[in-house]
Symmetry: C2
Subunit: 479 residues, 2 copies
Amino acid sequence: MRREQDLDHFFSPSSVAVVGATPNKAKGGYSIIANMLESFDGPVFPVNPGRDEILDNKCYPSVKDIPQAVELAIIFVPAAQVPTVLEDCAQAGVKAAVIESGGFAETGEEGRELQDRCAKIARAKGMRLWGPNCTGLVNTDPFIFTPFMRFPDLNQRLHKGNLGIIAQSGMLAAGFMIQYVLSGFFKVSKACAIGNKIDVDEVDVLRYLADDPSTEAVVAYLESIGDGQAFLDVAREMVAKKPLVILKGGRHEESARAALSHTASIAGSDKVVEGALRQAGVLRVEDFQDLMDLGKALSLSPRPFRLSSAEGNNIAIITVTGGGGVVTTDLARDDGLQVPPLEEKTLEQLRQVFPPWMAPANPVDIWPAVEQGGFEAFSAAIDAVVEDPRIDGVLLLTFSSRFVGQFPFEKMGERIKHAGKPLVSWVFGDARFFDVYRERMNAIGAPVYDNVRSSVMALAAYLHFSRIARADAAGSTAG
Amino acid sequence: MRREQDLDHFFSPSSVAVVGATPNKAKGGYSIIANMLESFDGPVFPVNPGRDEILDNKCYPSVKDIPQAVELAIIFVPAAQVPTVLEDCAQAGVKAAVIESGGFAETGEEGRELQDRCAKIARAKGMRLWGPNCTGLVNTDPFIFTPFMRFPDLNQRLHKGNLGIIAQSGMLAAGFMIQYVLSGFFKVSKACAIGNKIDVDEVDVLRYLADDPSTEAVVAYLESIGDGQAFLDVAREMVAKKPLVILKGGRHEESARAALSHTASIAGSDKVVEGALRQAGVLRVEDFQDLMDLGKALSLSPRPFRLSSAEGNNIAIITVTGGGGVVTTDLARDDGLQVPPLEEKTLEQLRQVFPPWMAPANPVDIWPAVEQGGFEAFSAAIDAVVEDPRIDGVLLLTFSSRFVGQFPFEKMGERIKHAGKPLVSWVFGDARFFDVYRERMNAIGAPVYDNVRSSVMALAAYLHFSRIARADAAGSTAG
């Protein structure tokens, strides 16, 4: 039996009970039932012994009283009541339960014992458990949204997407990611906040997302890795098929100690973790913002790009500010990228749009050409560099202003699509026009950031996963 | 004669001529005259041989025709006409000129010769020159705003401030900084975009800002340093009195080469630059965003804080998310900060607000205390850690939501003010409430960022400059 198929009970159940549902809008139990009624297509049963009806739906005193089969239970009641609820669920033939309540292992010995009792009840009946101490999960196809924070107009804010998110953490960091999911910053396939990992853990959800056809890339925030070998095996397998980015704290002795005291599990020697992740081809980042920024990039363009240089890490910088080109070259070198000289053929092509006094080079200082020939100089320059066999990707530094509509977005899009190479952009200038620029660029598959470092990081990530795909393809051919 | 006093001609002239003024709103010459008429308190004379009147002001064919004395000329005419304009200025007794036009040394040999001719004319008459190929300068006390970009409601957007900005660069990177100046992100005393540095250079403006009583901190974006020794002498002298942060590209061989081809001057061996800057106590950053973020922090709190530990680099992290504390500890260690254990007295104080099952530590995992006792737990925790003699500064990781008004901002402000220690915050969560949180925190002198890295960088900068001040004070005492 492939254990991971059990997770379908969580991501696409046929029916759901919400234990701890309430009409009191100040409570999490209200948010869950309201969110579920709004997002979920199948039957949703509120459970609360003190109510007859919640939001126009009949309310049941216990899961056992529900007259239909229930596949998934979402539980948000005080920790001490959870074992009883689980026994009811087990008796009613419930296949899986998301426990969102806190008050378990994260609160010390007593909570840990309670958690162990829950695990035992579920194990005896073959019921899978998710949590506790978490916001649960989101699936966008079919829709299911379990978090206990209420988001009005949920259906308008949830869109089918291709990015998988894993957030092992207490509620707050997971809540942060849910905010991103709903902000439209990227489009998500599945989001998993796995909490205390009483049963379903990072290996389970990673394996599930690796096999999930609607998930094309995964970003994960992990605090501890339980079974390191199993995790690395799944990670390696995934990276051969889709990008995986991980934020894992505990790189220094002090932070590893903090991780140890904060989570119940062992954080593991970071040097071992670091080496193993790198060998598996996983990209590791250092800040929550980095994880979200790479999620954006990989969601926009998850598939590997065509690398034309042997190294696969050579970029062209096209910039409206010479100084910006210098700063970007520094950050690119820090991230292991090269900014090589362009081919003579490419330089010749650039000379066509450059003023006669200006010698083209890499970084491509494009502003004099724009002053001379208008915004078409941008697509002309992209056209030139993407055909250069020394160049694997393009970084565009530009500005936003009321003239932002003049950028030749479609042409730029055709050029990079034809060449199969990635384009990432830093934008500065008049912030009122950032959104327009970002939307138009995203439409051609190019992520946009408001700082150089994130732009370089995104381009480096694209090339990193493209190199892995190339090596993998070469390995397959050789084999 | 102290050369830098000449710069008063630029920053607080008694009268100004705008050569190249035009009523054509599409032109930079319109923006300059409109901005100057709006921002400048003294007489402003438009100069343009083809017009009788511009914006209801009498227009003169040449500077020589202006019936009053002109102290400063702002010049925005085609490069080839600039020498003649300068000769007119010299004849009319003009003391200084800002040349904003491009088309000089940055365009090659011919432009360089033109630039040399301008320098010669000015030198012969003792007239100081600023630029060319730049946006000029901003002073907020008295107001003067020379850039050729038009910003309506300039007077509402310009506020007196304490941050000095230097941007040696072509127009675009300087334009980026002007946008920040006007956005209200920080409050500026003087902004200097020095362009090709035909005469006034980075050493001149740095020395001027070092002596300027309204400037309390300086951030500088430099592409090249002409006279390294002179620059370092001024920088060292400044850092003893006020913080100085520099972004200078060219850290890698490839970027140094790009810098060389982009600017006319020699970029210098970066290793020498790096070592000398560090020795002078200057803080060097890597991205434009970092420079702006530190500008914000130093503008809010330019003066040194009270360090209580011997190392002066020990921080307490107060966090609503345990995992956030771990990630932050990693980034803090990367930046040379320590996250030491707290004193027993501090732990005892924290136990008063912590639930019994939770043992306080550093990072201070505050969420269970907030759940138990409400938002007052934040000020209680700050109160405890700022009095700990092992702690020099505080990083607060928290979230924004519709309850953001419940934060005890005033109490937190009193605590840190009383202790004389810095507080910096990372905020995540519901972005609709970021602005409220940021404004309230800024009002108590605490900068707020939406990513951990910037928060850590700001706190590290505060402690860096406080250590220099302490060492300096100790040196003075010893001497």
